[in-house]
Assembly symmetry: C2
Homo-oligomer: 253 residues x 2
DNA sequence: CGTTGAGTTGACTCCTATCAAGAAATGTGG
DNA sequence: CCACATTTCTTGATAGGAGTCAACTCAACG
């Protein structure tokens, strides 16, 4: 018992950062022995090149994945061949949870740039979870977060205008970068206009036009993939009729 | 040990149907003692009248709810007062899982008709889950299902036309009714045109027009809230450009 | 039997998709 | 390292789908 005491938050952060599982273990007090066990089941794959697949829709579900560095998009394929983006996954974010129920992945996952991921065999994670109540709680939280994320996106796609969608998208990216320790106002988009459009239910031309429009309004400075947010409040204002998103996107300091 | 043997599927079905937790325990082999334990933490509230709230957005998260009979809608409120429906919940379906992560419900839940629900205190469910691996697995599956459901709705709202949305909605209802033992072709809508529109990101007038349009096409027979599907294949055909939804909506017999 | 809310239908407008062409960046092979 | 091909992005013109506004019908209810 003595050697299993709760480790300090700092030590935990380091341990979790190296294993890429900050999302799973950061916010709680996993005991040091537990972290080792968790660490023991994680596969560290070699980096994926741009365009490489992590899994494809219909593949048997075995693992969940955590992005360490880079960006991954998840997407489905329409019968006509066009693809529909369902999510962008930044460092620290998890993919593949939707595949568990059907035992098959419901979408494909592809690296948008050179990307490193952790592969977590779900079966083993589940076994481990049985013996570590805290880990179970984290898993529930993780899945709950995924559910509420999807729900607010549904709300966004349901009613709002093109302008509101892109504003929400940029604020979401900004907030996520901020929480990973990157700049919240200055970043590079790893996805194309096409992919942003697909994700937001817009034509790529509309996305492009909106970027120039936001630039004219002095809200953004855009140069191709590089975006600088000049007027953060201006972006928030665009979402003022929007319900749920606001609290989640506003950066709490 | 001897008295804890796996009960027959039939007994299980009965036990779960009475407790309204078929979603949680039906597809697995919970041991009889476990079912009793699960049963022990469930609160059986008296029926809710039409319009009564189960919980409201922002309330502290304590319970998840399973619909026994009736229909519940979950919705968020926009700043301008209008509401945005995020889901309709039929018997056997679960609500509230999205609230866990934030410790507060991210939406409100209101009965659309006289409705009975089971209230499951999440804290106790979680404790119980620790000691029953099968139950943990079921919980993961349940949450995974919620995630993939939301994802396919996102896809639907992202790209598709009003016609496709309503078709998908009707097929979803049809399939869900079918799997609960009701008719898949003849049912009553418990929600208004307004609410359907809000859910699908359409104006109520558009929904109304589509119902008459579908009727003209001999796909439906509509009379106010009563719907009869005359040409199921016709509805599927409308979704033929749609990706993920199809397998999920098609009734597997 | 009048009131109220839900649903239907029509006319009009506007947002955004689509089509099309050109510009800018990226990649490739000699 | 340059020329060419390819992809991505931008910008313009046009058209169509769905929202909005408005009037009317119908059912439910006291």
């Amino acid at each position: 018992m003595a050697q299993n005491k709760v480790v300090s938050i700092e030590k935990l952060k380091i341990a979790c950062k190296t294993c890429g599982l900050s999302t799973l273990c950061l916010p709680l007090g996993l005991e040091s022995g537990d972290i080792e066990k968790l660490d023991g089941i994680i596969e560290r794959n070699r980096p994926l090149r741009k365009g490489a697949h992590l899994f494809e829709m219909g593949d048997d579900f075995h693992n969940i994945y955590v992005v360490k560095t880079g960006t991954v998009k998840t997407y489905t394929q329409n019968p006509d061949g066009t693809e529909q983006v369902v999510g962008f996954h930044l460092p620290g974010e998890v993919m593949g949870l939707g595949g568990l129920e059907q035992k098959r992945y419901g979408c494909s996952a592809k690296a948008l740039q050179t990307t490193a991921v952790c592969e977590v065999p779900f079966k083993q994670l589940e076994d481990l979870t049985t013996s570590i109540p805290n880990l179970q709680h984290q898993m529930f939280r993780l899945m709950s977060k995924e559910i509420s994320r999807d729900t607010s996106l549904m709300v966004l796609l349901g009613k709002s205008t093109a302008e509101e969608r892109l504003a929400a998208f940029l604020l979401s990216l900004s907030s996520r970068f901020y929480h990973r320790g990157f700049s919240s106002t200055d970043f590079n988009l790893s996805m194309s206009r096409q992919e942003i459009g697909s994700y937001l239910g817009l034509a790529l031309e509309t996305v492009s036009r909106l970027f120039t429009h936001f630039q004219e309004e002095k809200i953004l400075l855009v140069n191709r993939k590089h975006v600088e947010i000049l007027n953060m409040d201006g972006l928030y204002d665009l979402l003022s009729n929007q319900s749920s998103c606001l609290e989640k996107l506003r950066i709490q300091s």
